[in-house]
């Protein structure tokens, strides 16, 4: 038996999950975004009967299909990795976490799988209406699946609707709706799906721009751009709104993540939002009093971070040091505990669980013995019992009763100690207060990248929409170049968003409840290293194949009769 879980095992398990998630998120947003675009196009075809729109929709469906398969493949790995690499997690919260995954399968995946087949192979086999419905149901299925997996993710960021059951040694769900309709889940769903729509809109605008640059497929390209940029612009606007909601939730529920996003070490009332900045690499400790920045420019709206976080310009935003030291007043009015105090309470909770389990086992012994005592044996040795690790000779029924009462007292006491400290259970596994700080630089920069690129894409969509509706897009070659390049930027923005969400919540697998170190499977580090590199090689080869196939398909083009222009 391994004496202690190896740190490298935790790191490699995380690396493998991150790898799979990053690859998965290269493909899924395009599915979510492009799925809607092609459905809109087919709807236009259905309404107008214009073959042009059928061909246009079919071209984007081809791109969708090339991308879809690999999204499915990486998704399968992600689901099963909860079991293969995070087995302790799967038991500890499987009672809650398994449900959205199962619902995703039953409600969403079958819808997707069934109707995508009709979408691709049904053109000449089913009616136009049935086909259009299938195209919509494919993307509805994909979007519902995104909802349920994001419910699961949101629950890890903000666990709700459950309680800890010491008898089964796990958390158990007590409100399905608190899990499924948690405000964090709803917000995360919209913010994430919208980011997929932005990427879908950008891909359509970018690829179409390429045709314009090559002076090919002009009618197709201009029509696609109009749909793509309108869709992207709407998605951008909505995503800013949901992003704002997300910031408020992070401020309230994951203050450490917010502090890392802003590299805010010392909190204050009325804090500015950092616009751009370069972090000071010589700052090694949260409390070394070095300036965290070499250079920074705040957003010109004063006290904007306080406002974004709590809706008040003068609100107090705690920094990393404050969260570790405690003592400030939180948004709900309570005084924040220090990290050390939380860790002390966490250790009390973990110890109480151990005591509770032992006492429970003893009580079972006493219950069993009680029967045999009634059945006559009076010899002293028949009362010998091992309780709490010691063998005790129970020489009389009175003593037996007294010891039995002791056991029940132990159960009650350990239960109370557990209940009193359960909120900090996860802190019981934390070794040092500084372990509670996520990688600040990664979180800080990823957040800036997401925000800056998001703002840029908004402007790009707005300008493109303007020229598109003025029928001037075709002549703006600089804009076409920017649109083409911005496909990559949109993808980077989406990835950066996930880095903020996932790296920013470290060390927690489930916020305050279970750190990654206690969530893993007991495997040899080398096994996980091997699978990491297998997945890395496989996904990379498949990604290259995907891109090559896609580029080939794009080069071939929709081949819509050009003389219609």
């Amino acid at each position: 038996m391994i004496a202690e879980i190896d740190i490298s095992l935790i790191d490699w398990s995380r690396a493998q999950f991150a790898l799979t998630a990053i690859y998965h998120w290269l493909f899924v947003p395009l599915t979510l975004g492009l799925g809607i675009v092609q459905a809109i196009m087919e709807t236009i075809y259905y309404k107008t009967g214009d073959e042009f729109w059928k061909k246009t929709a079919k071209f984007w469906m081809k791109i969708f299909g090339i991308n879809f398969a690999i999204g499915v493949a990486t998704g399968l790995i992600l689901e099963f990795e909860f079991g293969t690499n995070w087995s302790n997690y799967s038991w500890f919260v499987g009672d809650i976490f398994g449900a959205p995954l199962a619902i995703e399968g039953v409600v969403a995946f079958f819808m997707e799988a069934t109707f995508i087949a009709v979408m691709y192979f049904g053109w000449n086999k089913v009616s136009k209406g049935f086909h259009l419905t299938s195209t919509w149901l494919t993307i509805v299925g994909a979007t519902i699946s995104a909802f349920w997996i994001l419910v699961a993710n949101a629950w890890m960021q903000h666990p709700a609707g459950m309680h800890f059951n010491p008898d089964t040694v796990r958390n158990e769900m007590d409100s399905f709706w608190a899990v499924a309709l948690s405000p964090v889940a709803i917000n995360k769903f919209f913010h994430t799906v919208l980011s997929g729509w932005i990427i879908g809109g950008m891909v359509v605008a970018g690829i179409s721009s390429w045709y314009l640059l090559k002076k090919r497929e002009t009618k197709f390209a201009l029509a696609s751009i109009k749909v793509g940029v309108t869709f992207g612009l709407i998605a951008c606007l909505l995503s800013m709104w949901t992003g704002d909601g997300s910031a408020m939730q992070v401020a309230e529920k994951q203050p450490m993540k917010l502090a890392a996003m802003e590299a805010l070490y010392e909190g204050d009332n009325g804090v500015n939002l950092v616009g751009v900045g370069i972090l000071n690499p010589s700052k090694k400790e949260y409390n070394d009093d070095k300036d965290p920045f070499l250079f920074k420019i705040d957003v010109p709206i004063p006290k904007f971070l306080s406002y974004l976080s709590f809706g008040k310009f003068n609100a107090y935003v705690p920094g990393i040091k404050d969260i570790i030291d405690g003592g400030y007043t939180t948004s709900d009015g309570s005084i924040a505990l220090s990290a050390l105090e939380k860790m002390r309470r966490g250790k009390l909770a973990v110890a109480a669980l151990a005591n509770y389990s032992l006492a429970k086992a003893d009580s079972a012994l006493f219950e069993r013995r009680a029967d045999s005592i009634k059945n006559a044996a009076t010899a002293a040795e028949s009362f010998a019992i091992t309780s709490d690790g010691d063998t005790i000779l129970l020489t009389s029924t009175e003593l037996f009763a007294a010891k039995k009462a002791d056991v029940y007292t132990r159960i009650a006491e350990s239960r109370k100690q557990l209940n009193d400290n359960i909120k900090y259970f996860g802190y019981g596994y934390i070794k040092e207060p500084s372990d509670l700080i996520p990688p600040v630089a990664l979180t800080f920069y990823a957040f800036r990248i997401m925000i800056i690129l998001g703002g840029f894409l908004f402007l790009l969509f707005a300008i493109s929409a303007y020229f598109s509706y003025k029928n001037k897009f075709e002549t703006k070659r600089w804009l076409q170049w920017i649109c083409l390049i911005s496909i990559l930027l949109a993808i980077i923005a989406g990835q950066a968003g996930w880095v903020v969400a996932e790296v920013g919540r470290q060390p927690w697998a489930i916020q305050d409840m279970l750190p990654t170190s206690a969530a893993i499977s007991r495997l040899a580090t080398s096994s996980v290293q091997i699978t990491f590199f297998i997945f890395l090689a496989l996904f990379t080869v498949l990604l290259i194949a995907e891109l090559k196939i896609m580029i080939n398909a794009i080069k071939k083009g929709p081949q819509i009769n050009e003389q219609k222009n």
């Binding site: 099963f80 009709v118 086999k125 769900m173």
Partner: protein, 382 residues
């Protein structure tokens, strides 16, 4: 334990078993892949084969994912113990499904990097490995696996993992138990039998029809040899039984007794076997008859359902531990809370609706059989 708990646990074992049974039926897609080069001698024939079973690959895939999700939601201790412990078996299964997911779409596309042949070999690999590995893994439901579960471990800060595997092989050791492998091979040949029946039903091509009917006899014989050996042994072997104190013990003829003590399951089993044999037999005897897949397919679902029910119902440990008998998983000690099982039971009401639209969409597409003409004309083919 209250009646509602017993009901919910048994109900969820039934649903998981049903999903497992549907998965085995849908492995006919894999069977088709493994026969790609056996039946398909020309590129056109291979194309027709790929477009026949291939257009159903997403159903198999989705059923696997849903099977995983449903198992997670209803019996999370299995999810954590088996997946985290029998690591290599599950990773291999996952890898071969990744290959499948991309291969259909990519094999015929220009610029696919690895070449058409490589993707076809990926499909062949998935076609062989998936049924063999899944069958072998299910074999451990009857023959046990090497693990320990100790929930008290959670309070050990620094080493809180509750499930651990007792061999460094992490699941691969199951392949050294002949009875597991027999089940794996039986599932493999069954998937090929079903694929042939589906080709016969779905492809309008004389040569493929003829070849499929001929190949069917060989595959059937092999399937029967492996399945019957496994099944007879199952009836005769000691099984992992649970007593009134929830202690697991070895009971002679446990699985045989399970069928006797649960006559409904026995009837399901027999109906399934008859369905499979009838579907195959009539196809072999009647040159014009093409409906074999529906009888053999339904039969497969019923048979596998009965076998899985036999593994988990009637006080049986469905995932027995050879390392520590009392670590064995039963539907009682590994299930989710009453609240979750109940909530998910409400969700399961949707399943008939899902099945209904699958059947509807499937029929809408399958009314049109696969022909050379379609392969040449249609823009979207594999």
């Amino acid at each position: 334990m209250e009646t509602i708990d017993i009901f919910l646990q048994n109900y969820w074992w039934f649903l998981v078993s049903l999903l497992g049974a549907l998965l085995v039926f849908l492995l006919f897609v894999q069977g088709g892949q493994s026969l790609l080069f056996t039946i398909g001698k020309t590129p056109m024939q291979q194309k027709m084969l790929l477009n026949s079973t291939g257009r159903k690959w997403e159903f198999t895939f989705t059923t696997l994912v849903t099977f995983g999700g449903a198992f997670f939601a209803s019996f999370p201790l299995f999810y954590s113990t088996s997946f985290g412990g029998a690591y290599w078996v599950w990773i291999l299964i996952l890898l071969c499904f990744v290959l499948q997911a991309v291969s259909y779409e990519y094999q015929s596309k220009k610029g696919n990097l690895l070449g058409t042949k490589t993707y076809k070999i990926f499909l062949l690999l998935n076609g062989i490995l998936a049924p063999v590995l899944i069958g072998t893994a299910v074999g451990t439901f009857f023959n046990g696996a090497e693990f320990i579960v100790n929930k008290a471990q959670l309070s050990t800060v620094g080493n809180p993992v509750i499930s651990s595997w007792a061999t460094p092989w992490h699941g691969l050791e199951a392949a050294f138990v002949v009875w597991n492998v027999l089940l794996g091979l039986a599932v493999f040949f069954l998937s090929r039998v079903l694929a042939l029946l589906y080709f016969i039903n779905n492809i309008n091509d004389d040569e493929i029809q003829k070849k499929s009917r001929k190949q069917l006899i060989i595959e059937t014989v092999l399937f029967l040899v492996f399945f019957l050996t496994f099944f007879v042994h199952l009836l005769l072997q000691e099984g992992f039984a649970v007593d009134a104190n929830k202690e697991v013990f070895m009971q002679p003829y446990k699985y045989f007794n399970n069928f006797i003590q649960m006559p409904v399951v026995l009837v399901v089993l027999l109906a399934g076997v008859v369905g499979v044999l009838f579907g195959i037999g009539k196809t072999i005897l009647s040159a014009e008859w093409k409906k074999g897949i529906w009888f053999a397919g339904t039969g497969t679902v019923l048979t596998v359902l009965a076998l899985l029910l036999c593994a988990g119902w009637n006080d049986t440990a469905y995932y027995p531990s050879l390392t520590n008998l009392q670590s064995s998983l039963t539907i009682q000690n590994s299930c989710s809370s009453r609240f979750t099982l109940k909530t998910m039971a409400y969700v399961s009401i949707l399943i008939p609706l899902v099945l209904a639209y699958i059947v509807y969409a499937w029929r809408a597409l399958d009314i049109h059989k696969i022909t050379k003409k379609e392969m040449e004309e249609n823009e979207h083919t594999y």
